[in-house]
Structures are given as structure tokens and as C-alpha cells.
């Protein structure tokens, strides 16, 4: 029965995306601010301005514009960027892998750090030191990713210059890959020198994205572990002669994982959203960074394409998390 709900969610995706598209479309055009005005050189004639406006279809009624855009979108054509003069689709596709790699690395770091913190916290349960762990997690949670980015940049980029603070890779390294998944390809093809350089550049932004999420994972996981440890089956395990660490790891952890993934997984979208600023701060060439430029330049087609991309990623992530939860909890599988 659970699978039925997943089908239902899949079916709801297209309408949701259309809704997102409509809202963005309308917002961009209804609210004051003229992209054409930003693009024209001084001294252009009114005729030129009109031609430019017509070229981008901005002289048509909004509904007409949307229909045109929607029709083209269905065919995979998301228009041309006003500021960069390339196909939106190609632009996004070119930069998307960089952001995906960054987000994946950040998630990995966050999960590892968060789990370790939670396990330490649960071992200290009931003792004074537990307060230290809880407090630490609280502080890490309160500071958002972009602030972490700035702090890390200051600490490890400037004050103690350990790592680079801009770009995806050193400019002098020649990268000749098929796809733009530089990190994945460099590892797969054994080019570890390039992978090393990439990781140097990715570490600080990934850490910035990871720390608040790690704190969240730590808090949720620790709470879930504590709740699960109080359940009957865990108490009875003690009556059967198993040690506390063994019980925590073998009986309690698989149970605690379920609400953790359910509650925490939803927040991965926040991590992804954080790439917008973190990439900007580290001048990392991903779609987040591109989004800011697109907005400042009022590049409507690019903005629309990017927001849609983010929306698709968000929805896919949410669906993925729900799938994982279903896999983890046998009670959900049998309805």
C-alpha cells in the first residue's frame, strides 16, 4: 500500500512543477523592474528597445508569454539567457554537476559528523558531559551555512591559510573531462592529483554546508536513540545479558535511524538551497553562484530555468528520502 502513495506523489510532480513555474513567471513580470532597461547601452533608440523587447517576447500579454514558454519548455527549450546569450538548458546543465558534487560531499560529511556526535552524546546519557554535547550541537545549529562559510573562509583561508577560498580548481590545471562531474571522473580515471586539487577547493564550502546539517542530524539522531533505548525491547535486551554498546548499535540504532532519516532527510533541501550563497562566497562555479548573477541581471529565462531546476531537485530529494524511509521500516512496507 505504501507503493501506492509513492505513485501518487510521482503523479503530483508535474502539476507542482507547473505551479512553481506559474508563480515564478508571474512574479517576475508583475513586479516592477525591467530587464531590458538593464541591458541596453546608453543612447539606444526607442526602436532598438522595442525590438529587443519583442525579441524576448516581453511585449506580449503575460498569459501569451507563459503559453509560449511552456510550449517550448515541453520540448526542452528553456529559452536563451538574456545576460549570457546561450541556451538556458545548456548553461544549467554545464554547471549543475559542480553543485551536485558539492552537495553530495557536504551531505556525506554531515552524516558522518552528525552520527559520531549522536553516538558520543548517547553514550554520555545522564552524565554531566551530555550537556556539553547538547550545547555544542545547539550552537552549530544556530549558525547558518553562509555564516559558516564566512567563518571558515576567515579561519582556514585567511588567518591560517590552509585551503584555497575561490573557484572549483586551480586555474593552471588543465581539466579535460567528458562530463562536468570533475570529481567523480577524476577518481574513476585515476587522476588523483586532479581529485586532490578539487577536494582542496571543495572542502571549505562543503564543510560550511555540512556543519548546520550535521548538527541537525546529531540532535535528531540522539533524541531518537534515547527514545528507542527506552523502549521495552531495548530494556529486555539488557535482561538477556547484552552490553549497552552492543544494544545501542544492534537493536537501537536501526530503529532510531527511521525517524532521523524522515525528519532530517527533509532538511537536505535546505542544504541544497544553501549552495546559492556558499558558492558565491567561495566563487565556486555552480548553479547557486549563477543564480545570484542571473537575479542581479534580471535574466528572466535563466532565473526561471534555475528555479525550476532547484524545484525538481527538491522534489526528487523529498521523494528519495521517503523511499529510503520505506526501505528502513518494515512496518511501512506491508501496509
Amino acid at each position: 500500500m505504501r507503493w501506492g502513495e509513492i505513485i501518487r506523489r510521482l503523479v503530483l510532480i508535474p502539476p507542482t512543477l507547473v505551479g512553481v513555474a506559474v508563480i515564478v513567471f508571474v512574479l517576475l513580470r508583475v513586479v516592477p523592474g525591467d530587464p531590458i532597461a538593464m541591458m541596453i547601452p546608453p543612447g539606444a533608440s526607442p526602436a532598438d528597445i522595442d525590438r529587443l523587447r519583442a525579441f524576448y517576447g516581453l511585449d506580449q500579454p503575460i498569459l501569451q508569454q507563459f503559453i509560449t514558454w511552456f510550449g517550448q519548455a515541453l520540448r526542452g527549450d528553456f529559452g536563451r539567457s538574456i545576460s549570457v546569450h546561450q541556451s538556458v538548458f545548456e548553461l544549467v546543465l554545464a554547471r549543475l554537476p559542480a553543485t551536485l558534487e558539492l552537495a553530495a560531499l557536504a551531505t556525506l560529511i554531515a552524516v558522518v559528523l552528525g552520527t559520531i556526535a549522536a553516538m558520543i552524546g548517547i553514550q554520555l546519557r545522564g552524565r554531566r558531559a551530555e550537556w556539553v554535547v547538547d550545547g555544542g550541537v545547539g550552537v552549530f545549529l544556530a549558525i547558518p551555512d553562509f555564516l559558516w562559510a564566512l567563518i571558515l573562509l576567515l579561519l582556514f583561508g585567511v588567518l591560517i591559510p590552509l585551503l584555497p577560498i575561490s573557484g572549483r580548481i586551480d586555474p593552471q590545471i588543465d581539466v579535460n573531462f567528458h562530463s562536468n562531474f570533475y570529481l567523480v571522473e577524476s577518481i574513476l580515471t585515476g587522476r588523483f592529483d586532479i581529485a586532490n586539487a578539487l577536494l582542496h577547493h571543495m572542502l571549505l564550502p562543503a564543510l560550511a554546508l555540512a556543519l548546520p546539517f550535521a548538527a541537525l542530524v546529531a540532535r535528531i539522531l540522539k533524541t531518537s536513540l534515547a527514545e528507542a533505548e527506552d523502549q521495552d525491547y531495548a530494556q529486555i535486551a539488557r535482561a538477556r545479558g547484552f552490553s549497552r554498546p552492543a544494544i545501542l548499535l544492534r537493536e537501537v540504532f536501526p530503529n532510531a535511524l527511521i525517524p532521523t532519516v524522515a525528519l532530517g532527510g527533509v532538511q537536505i533541501t535546505l542544504l541544497l538551497g544553501g549552495t546559492v550563497l556558499v558558492e558565491r562566497i567561495f566563487s565556486y562555479e555552480g548553479i547557486g553562484n549563477m543564480a545570484i548573477d542571473a537575479v542581479i541581471n534580471r535574466d528572466f529565462p535563466l532565473i526561471q530555468g534555475l528555479i525550476l531546476t532547484f524545484a525538481v531537485l527538491f522534489i526528487a530529494l523529498n521523494l528519495g528520502v521517503d523511499l529510503v524511509v520505506t526501505l528502513l521500516d518494515p512496518r511501512l512496507r506491508h501496509g
Binding site: 507542482t16 517576475l28 564566512l150 585567511v158 533541501t269 538551497g273 558565491r280 562566497i281 528555479i307
Partner: protein, 295 residues
């Protein structure tokens, strides 16, 4: 057993004092941090040593007074245009506080309204509102605020609008869930039996019980509002002109981070203490107002 709805919020002063004690250190630390922020914002013209816009190009990029090369006239140093960092920090607090108060309150008002309506009417109204919230939450919040602010143009209004438009869903979801839970409680059924109208029930029974929840969310939301404003001013699309903002200072500082790291570091410190202050205040208020919660 029938829950009594009216035993929350107001009561004799002795109850208040006992309640305040429940807040614990979080309440006091949070209140202190927020208090410093608000005072700085209110008293800015009185306590800032210099005009935040006044440039002194002869004294550009001076480090804080206690560092070698610093000048006692500029306690926290100067930026590239010779403007006093401390004064700019203090004046930026004004923007932060203004945005926090107005934006958070508006977001709360709109969100609560939607939440109450969805939660109490149920049926298709609830379905429609929930779908709307879902779609809204599919947006990357940061990007959405940036888009809005950029499109509306510079100014306090656009910043506030950006925050409100993105974050009202936070209140709506929580209020909707809580309303539905409260309506199922015994006292609401009892009220219906007495013949209270729907709005009467909302006003007399539900709202008082929502107060603890809303107050906490409001405090947290103010912290978030400050963060969003920082983001927008960092990107360059916040309040107009020369008005100093923490985000703007960070953006400037980022350019010269190797030469003058304090210009970026000091605003970060202010932001962190303000946000942590609001979070702690929210936590503390929750403990005070809702004694059932014990964590």
C-alpha cells in the same frame, strides 16, 4: 476530563515570576543579547562615535585600536573608505532590528491567518491551503527572496516583502497543525455544544493556547529575518544607497579579506550573537509560557 482553555497566558504577578524562573539561563542570556541589539539600534546616534557615512581616506583600512597600527579614534578600525567600523556596525543594527520586527510580525500575521483558516475549516479549504503551502515550500527560500528583492528593487520594503513572502509558510504549517489538534480536544467540543460560533471558539479557546507556540516561532523568525537581510545586503540588493548593513560590510570585507580581515569578521560576530540571542530568547519563552514542555 475536560481541558480548561483559559488557564494560560494571564494570571497574577506571582505566577509571572514563577514562570520567568522556568525560563532558566536561556531566557536571560537571550534577553540580554537581544536587549543589547535593540539598545544599539535605538541609541545609535547617541553612542556611535562617528557618522557611519563619513569618509576619511587618509585613515583607510585601519585595524582595531588594540592592534599595532590602530588608532584610538577608531575603536574597531576603518574600512577602505575610512569609515568607522564600529559606527557602521551600530547603525547596521538599526536596519537589522527594523527588518526583524516588521518582517517577522507580518509573516506571523499572514501565516497565522492562513493556518487558522485551514485548520479550523478543514475540508477543501484545508486541502487548497496545504497544496499552496507545499508548492510554496518547493521553492529554494534563499533564491526566492533574492529574486523578489532584486525584482522589486532596493529598499526596506522589498527586503521585508521578500522575507514575508518566503517565510509565512513556517507559521501557517505549525498553526494549522496545532489548531487541528486543539479543535479535537474536549474543551472545543464542549464549547461547540454550548453553541459558540466558529470564530468565537477560535478567539476564546484556540488563540490563547497558541500563544506559547507563536511567541517562540516569532522569536526564531526574527533571527531568521536578520539572516535573510544579511544575505540580501551581502548580495547587494537590500536597502538603498549608503545605509550601512552587516551584509554589505561583509561583502566589502570579502573583497579585501586578506588585507583587512576584521572588516568581514566583526559583522559576523554581531550577526551570530543576535541570532543566537533570538534563538535562546525563543527557547526561554517557550519554557516560561508552556510548562507542559519539559526537555
Amino acid at each position: 476530563m475536560v481541558d480548561l482553555a483559559l488557564d494560560s497566558a494571564l494570571g497574577p504577578p506571582s505566577r509571572w515570576i514563577a514562570g520567568l524562573k522556568r525560563g532558566g539561563p536561556r531566557l536571560w542570556v537571550g534577553a540580554a543579547l537581544v536587549g543589547v541589539l535593540v539598545l544599539a539600534a535605538l541609541l545609535a546616534p547617541l553612542i556611535a562615535l562617528h557618522d557611519p557615512l563619513e569618509q576619511d581616506l587618509m585613515s583607510a583600512q585601519l585595524p582595531p585600536a588594540w592592534v599595532v597600527g590602530g588608532d584610538l579614534a577608531y575603536w574597531l578600525g576603518t574600512d577602505s573608505l575610512g569609515r568607522c567600523v564600529l559606527s557602521r556596525l551600530i547603525y547596521s543594527a538599526r536596519t537589522a532590528v527594523a527588518v526583524a520586527l516588521i518582517a517577522a510580525s507580518l509573516a506571523a500575521a499572514i501565516g497565522i491567518a492562513f493556518g487558522l483558516i485551514a485548520g479550523s475549516f478543514g475540508g477543501w479549504v484545508d486541502q487548497a491551503t496545504s497544496r499552496l503551502i507545499d508548492v510554496w515550500m518547493a521553492f529554494p527560500p534563499v533564491l526566492l527572496s533574492i529574486v523578489l528583492a532584486a525584482v522589486i528593487g532596493a529598499g526596506l520594503t522589498s527586503v521585508i516583502a521578500a522575507i514575508v513572502v518566503v517565510d509565512w509558510t513556517r507559521f501557517a504549517r505549525v498553526v494549522r497543525a496545532e489548531t487541528m489538534v486543539q479543535l479535537q480536544r474536549d474543551y472545543a467540543a464542549a464549547a461547540r455544544v454550548i453553541g459558540l460560533s466558529r470564530s468565537g471558539i477560535l478567539r476564546l479557546e484556540i488563540l490563547p493556547n497558541l500563544i506559547p507556540l507563536v511567541v517562540t516561532l516569532l522569536a526564531v523568525e526574527m533571527g531568521i529575518a536578520i539572516l535573510v537581510e544579511v544575505i540580501l545586503s551581502f548580495v547587494g540588493i537590500s536597502v538603498a544607497g549608503d545605509t550601512p548593513t552587516w551584509g554589505g560590510m561583509i561583502a566589502e570585507g570579502r573583497q579585501i579579506v586578506y588585507q583587512a580581515p576584521w572588516i568581514m569578521a566583526l559583522p559576523i560576530g554581531c550577526i551570530i550573537s543576535s541570532v543566537i540571542g533570538f534563538n535562546l530568547l525563543g527557547d526561554g519563552l517557550r519554557l516560561v509560557l508552556d510548562p507542559v514542555q519539559r526537555r
